[in-house]
Amino acid sequence: MEQPLLEATGFRKSFGGVPALRDGRFVLHPGSVHALCGGNGAGKSTFLKILMGIHHRDAGTLLRDGKPMTFESPSQALANGISIIEQELSPVPAMTVAENIYLGREPVGLFGRVRFGDLNHMAQELLDGFHFGIRADSLMMDLTVAQVQLVEIAKALSYDAEIIIMDEPTSALGEAEADQLFAAIKTLTARGKGVIYVSHRLSEIFSICDSYTVFRDGAFVETGAMDTIDKDRLIHLVVGRPLTEEFVKENEPGGEEMLSVRNLSADHGVRDVNFAVRRGEILALYGLMGSGRTEIFDRLFGLSDTAGGEIVIEGTATRIDTPNQAIAAGLAYVTEDRKHSGLVLTGDVRDNLCLATLDRVSSGQLMRVGAERDAAQRMIETLNIKTASDKLSVSNLSGGNQQKVVLGKWFLTEPRILLLDEPTRGVDVGAKREIYRVMSDFTRAGGAVIMISSETDEVLGMADRAVVMRDGRVAGELQRAELSAERLLHLAA
């Protein structure tokens, strides 16, 4: 057998006496895309941070090309051929793509002058090598979020590392850009590089990885080749118990229209949008990145600068210019990026849960602390939010539980129509199912859900109907019986 690129055994790490990783093991071979799977809290992040030299392991051995190693810092890991594509982007917006990629490593000439010609040339060659279709001399701030993500990926690849760690690399990508990334991964493995791939999206793992390793509760569970395992078994390994169904869908669409829009226009050129959602229905708004899905939600919730068109809620034409009017009309909006616009990360769980209903837990200006606590407790129990206390800072919660806090905040407003923008992004399999359960129960109780999702599986699994957007307009509509990945993509692209 060939020499593994990387072999980790018996990694252990505790934080303040609490073990985050008890037994981390991983073997990466050249030319392999190896999935590292596990729920939130399984120890994946800790394991990767040890590999990257960000944390120091308490115990365990690391062999790089058969040689024992310990990395004291990320730069040491990088020097030994390990680079990472992180979830969080860190672009310098006012600099060009090329400057961003080679930040701190610019080719310099006489008197330290940056040789911009060479710089742009190198960057363009790199980008073209992976067919990213981005110009090296464009400014970072002119790119879409997906393109910025691709640049970050190009940057990680520019180190020509032997081992590339990808932590949720597709979380900000649309389908088209994700395909570009997958093609790039194929190029890398053909060159004999090894990729450690972390993603909550199982379909991705099955389509691009060739082997898997599962961690659970801080310890290694199993490793093997991808073609020896199926989806159900992998979920079972990750969650620790068999999950019969990935999705929960027990709702039955009724006849009455809860919300309809006519000739709606929104920011970024979204116009002439018409659709309706009925009582008990889950409607998917599908489309590629930049097709105008989020802009429609912003418009419905009074967050838009453009305000054309008509919104009818339960038979009444309703004017919505501010979030308050939207909330009063029975709408709730779980935004795409919970850290940016969902949560107050400096606050605790209780603060966040009560944020949209402060008027209900106060008398005049005076807060009723008991009512605040009770409301928060109610949501913690209803949504099964795992937190030691409602006074714990919300930044300490896992992604799935943070998302449940955002949902809980909105359920306290007693909404009738839920707008969910990528409701399960960055959420592990177990918590995903709980969120699907919430959607199903909510519609069964007579509510309506409009869901934006980039995951085709999620649309196929949950939606009663899909409205497909393309370039700011409705490109078509598919009933549940007509839904398929091909049809969705065909309409969207």
């Binding site: 616009s341 107050v344 400096t346 606050g347 009560c354 402060l358 106060s362 005076l366 300490n396 992604g399």
Partner: protein, 340 residues
């Protein structure tokens, strides 16, 4: 992803108590560092100088701290929303000359009303609030960065002060007005009483009212606050108005104590106020902090100045030491947080 806590919701008896203890230790620990520093400083000063703990000196320290303390409490509201108010020093001077002009012995003699001090106070508060409201409008309505808006106001309010007073002090204030700065109730100087009242009121507003919750939410994440239906603009506006009003209170205390309103009063007061807020643990990034921390921060500055005076250290050195203290406090705060 990396910071999650895998803790199941505690169940069963006995957890209620332990939960409340664990959740209360966090905030207490945050306050402790700076409080301990204050106590240590007092112990050291008491040891080296017998006068330090005398009743007269303690009252003296509190009275000297009251102006900066009141300014810093207003500044806390602003900084909690991710803002800054650089104009408070100029507002102190403007309010001083405006309100004092209603309370000089000459004008009082002309109009001759026994209510003149009261009218002067109302005028002072109105002036301070109005200046704050203008800053607040620029920040909240026209999205001018707070640093720029209040930097402009720093200059404009100082200019207005000089125009209004003709560049000359407003002299010979009536006894009624001077009482604000020099009087006492049951032996406690009025400035200290005002400082205490402002503290209690501000603490109540920030911890017990809906507006207080709004302030923390807007500072913690303005986007989330907006989506959640909070009146973000109104809240931003209000904190500058509050800061202006409290700068007005401070301005009148200063004029009352001096006995005449000086147009060059209050220069660089904003820096001490910001220092007290930062030393007190409030985050310049917004959303985190408390008034009690600010008060301790102001006291620490006050005690240090007083102690260095008692020890005969030149005021030039005092500034250097204060600068070191500000940075040290923030460093201490940061290292404590990263240990969590």
């Amino acid at each position: 992803m990396e910071k999650q806590i895998e803790a199941a919701t505690p169940a069963g008896t006995g957890t209620e108590q332990s939960r409340s203890i664990t959740t209360r230790i966090g905030p207490l620990a945050q306050r402790y560092g700076i409080l301990i520093a204050l106590i240590l400083l007092c112990v050291v000063l008491a040891a080296v100088n017998e006068n330090f703990l005398s009743q007269r000196n303690i009252i003296n320290v509190l009275r000297q701290t009251s102006i900066n303390g009141i300014l810093a409490i207003g500044m806390t509201f602003v900084i909690l929303t991710r803002g800054i108010d650089l104009s408070v020093g100029s507002v102190v001077a403007l309010v001083g000359v405006v309100s004092a002009s209603f309370a000089t012995t000459s004008t009082a003699g002309v109009i001759g009303s026994p209510y003149m001090p009261l009218i002067a106070v109302v005028m002072g508060l109105a002036t301070g609030t109005a200046v704050g409201a203008v800053s607040g409008t620029m920040v909240a309505r026209f999205s001018v960065p707070a640093f720029v808006a209040t930097l402009g106001m720093l200059s404009a309010a100082r200019g207005l002060t000089l125009i209004y007073s003709g560049g000359r002090p407003v002299p010979a204030l009536t006894d009624g007005y001077r009482w604000i700065g020099t009087g006492d109730i049951a032996g406690i100087p009025v400035p200290i009483i005002l400082f205490g009242l402002v503290f209690v009121l501000a603490h109540f507003v920030l911890t017990q009212t809906r507006f207080g919750r709004h302030v923390y939410a807007v500072g913690g994440n303005p986007h989330a606050a907006k989506v959640s239906g909070l009146p973000v603009r109104r809240i931003r506006f209000a904190v500058y108005a509050i800061s202006g009003a409290l700068a007005g209170v401070a301005g009148m205390i200063l004029a009352g104590r001096t006995g005449s309103a000086l147009p060059q009063a209050g220069v660089a007061y904003e820096l001490d106020a910001i220092a007290a807020v930062v030393i007190g643990g409030t985050s310049l990034a917004g959303g985190i902090g408390r008034v009690s921390g600010t008060v301790i921060g102001a006291l620490l500055i006050g005690v240090m100045n007083n102690g260095l005076d008692l020890m005969g250290v030149e005021s030039y050195y005092q500034q250097v030491i204060k600068g070191g203290l500000i940075v040290a406090a923030v460093l201490l705060d940061r290292s404590r947080k990263s240990e969590d």
